[in-house]
């Protein structure tokens, strides 16, 4: 038991690595059932009439891509299936590259009928964090005179009837930290009454749950929630995705994630058993010494 307690931490790292690589190699996947807060986002998008304005602030970077990119891809897939108008923007400079990734790999590949300027627009990054949200609440044009390609905003057809944040029907944020979903609730949703929902890294999720369901229409925390959303998409649009689950990254990653969690739980149990067992034996030894 004492040997178990003194196990080299590097053995644990090795086991975790194997727990991640083996399910990847054998394509181990797990059936996901959507939790109410994930289902709420799906239902909210389903309930929007076609042609609604949806703001997609992508506030994250490559460091949180494994968790958040599947959410971004799923949102865009779902919104395009529902024929909504997409307004991409970001409060993080790295968010623009992530937006481009989704646009290149999902929107342009799978939805060729979507046209830039008519169905979607990339407003790009503006510095200022929550200050940007405060400004766009009243008027996008104060900060966005042009889009990412330098086209004047007034020449973009889908911006003709959009002045400020109140003209949006939904704010669907993806957040890797500050500024992110919390700021969109505080400075955007709560001020304008526009519903806010979004996906965040697992680390942030517990801090955002108190806003659900009154200030936050739905929340997706980490890879697990991303996989739940993907499974909802597969169920809801089985004619499009029924046989092509390999494009859904979060479902693919949940196999390694689950096995790694099991290994961690196993080590926790073994560590605690070894600790209490050795404490018991050392206590008995002390008693025998006292005698």
């Amino acid at each position: 038991m004492e040997r178990l307690q003194a196990i080299d931490r590097r053995w644990i790292f090795l086991f975790i690595m194997l727990a991640v690589v083996i399910p990847l190699a054998f394509d181990l996947t797990i059936d996901e059932v959507a939790t109410p807060e994930v289902q709420a986002i799906y239902d909210r998008i389903e309930a929007l009439p076609p042609g609604s304005n949806v703001l997609l602030p992508f506030d994250y970077g490559p460091e949180s891509e494994p968790e958040l990119q599947p959410m971004a891809d799923s949102y865009v897939r779902h919104l395009c299936r529902r024929k909504q108008k997409l307004f991409f923007m970001c409060l993080w400079p790295t968010g623009q590259a992530q937006t481009l990734k989704t646009v290149d790999q999902v929107l342009e590949q799978e939805f060729s009928d979507y046209s830039y300027g008519r169905d979607y627009v990339m407003l790009g990054f503006r510095p200022g964090g929550q200050g940007v949200i405060q400004v766009v609440v009243t008027d996008f044009r104060t900060l966005y005179q042009s889009d990412v390609e330098g086209t004047p905003i007034d020449e973009i057809p889908m911006m003709q009837n959009v002045k400020g944040l109140k003209d949006m029907d939904l704010i669907l944020n993806i957040s890797g930290g500050f500024p992110g979903l919390k700021e969109w609730i505080q400075f955007g949703g709560d001020r304008t009454g526009v519903p806010v929902a979004g996906g965040v890294t697992a680390v942030q999720a517990p801090l955002l749950y108190p806003y659900y369901p009154r200030q936050l229409s739905g929340i997706m925390g980490g890879l697990k929630a991303a996989a739940e959303y993907e499974s909802l998409l597969i169920q809801g649009y089985s004619e499009a995705y029924g046989t092509e689950t390999e494009r859904f990254a979060a479902i693919r990653r949940m196999g390694p994630q689950t096995l790694a969690h099991l290994v961690i739980i196993l080590f926790l149990v073994v560590g605690n058993v070894a600790y209490f067992a050795s404490r018991g034996s050392s206590g008995e030894r002390l008693k025998s010494l006292e005698k």
Binding site: R10, P93, R214, G222, L223, R253
Partner: protein, 266 residues
């Protein structure tokens, strides 16, 4: 195991992976770094990933190189972002729009006089902030700092008060018993349990932070309950953190085995 042996092991392990990758790419099973620019980028990314992961074994020169490179690139990236996204369009672009438009970046040529005045104030405050580096009068840098702190406090105060206080109080004032038409005794038992945990959990946690009265007797018991609530919250947060970190590891392993080595199919 001495320091030299540890280093030898790390270098040997990284070397082994590189040799395997070279042989693997020579056999045509994966893209060699000589094939294209993107392949070279993938090889370098793989090298940096392995260098960072090598720290799990022990500290070593590969890890320190990757760490220093990351810090340097990050600092450079944010500096360039600051210059091209803030200083040039928001300040210089308002002070000298003609010059900026001609030589640096596309900005509106017509600038409101108030905006120009504000840009001038920003320039002065920015210079005062840099005064900290001067040998004398470093206190001058406190003035722009005071403006920054004041702006942040003013901007955030009202929003935090509304979103994180008033709007959070009303959801906590909920009925303790959830009625139901169909459930046993006309009570939604799950909903009721949730309401009880929410209300009593909130009260217990608040009482734990109420230090004006000594935590003895009934108050002490409730306060201990508050500690349990806090511990469960921290546990949930830690569980989420573990999930997040494992997700990042999965992402890196996918990159190494699927995108780079191509030993696992996409």
């Amino acid at each position: 195991m001495n320091e030299q042996t540890r280093r030898f092991l790390v270098v040997g392990a990284v070397g082994l992976v590189v040799v395997f990758a070279l042989v693997w790419s020579a056999l045509g099973q994966m893209e060699g770094f000589w094939v294209s620019g993107s392949a070279l980028g993938a090889w370098f990314a793989a090298f940096l990933t392995l260098s960072i992961l090598s720290f799990l074994y022990d500290d070593n020169p590969f890890y320190r190189f990757a760490e220093s490179l990351f810090i340097g690139v990050s600092a450079g990236y944010w500096m360039v972002q600051g210059i091209w996204q803030q200083l040039i369009p928001n300040m210089l672009g308002r002070l000298a729009p003609g010059f900026v438009n001609e030589h640096l970046a596309q900005v509106p040529l017509e600038v409101d006089p108030v905006d120009r005045g504000m840009a001038l104030v920003q320039l002065v405050l920015g210079c005062l902030l840099l005064w900290r580096l001067a040998p004398k009068g470093t206190w001058i840098a406190r003035w722009p700092l005071a403006v920054i702190v004041g702006w942040a406090a003013g901007t955030n105060l009202t929003r935090y008060l509304v979103s994180d206080f008033t709007k959070q109080v009303s959801p906590a004032l909920i009925p303790l018993v959830e009625p139901s038409q169909t459930a046993f005794l006309g009570i939604d038992w799950i909903g009721t349990l949730t309401a009880l945990v929410t209300v009593f959990g909130l009260l217990a946690a608040l009482i734990y932070f109420f230090f004006s009265v000594e935590h003895k007797g009934f108050l002490g018991q409730v306060s201990r309950g508050g500690i349990w609530i806090l511990m469960i919250t921290f546990g949930a947060a830690f569980g989420y953190t573990v999930m997040g970190r494992i997700a990042l590891l999965v992402g890196r392993m996918e990159f190494l085995f699927v995108d780079w080595l191509q030993v696992i199919g996409p």
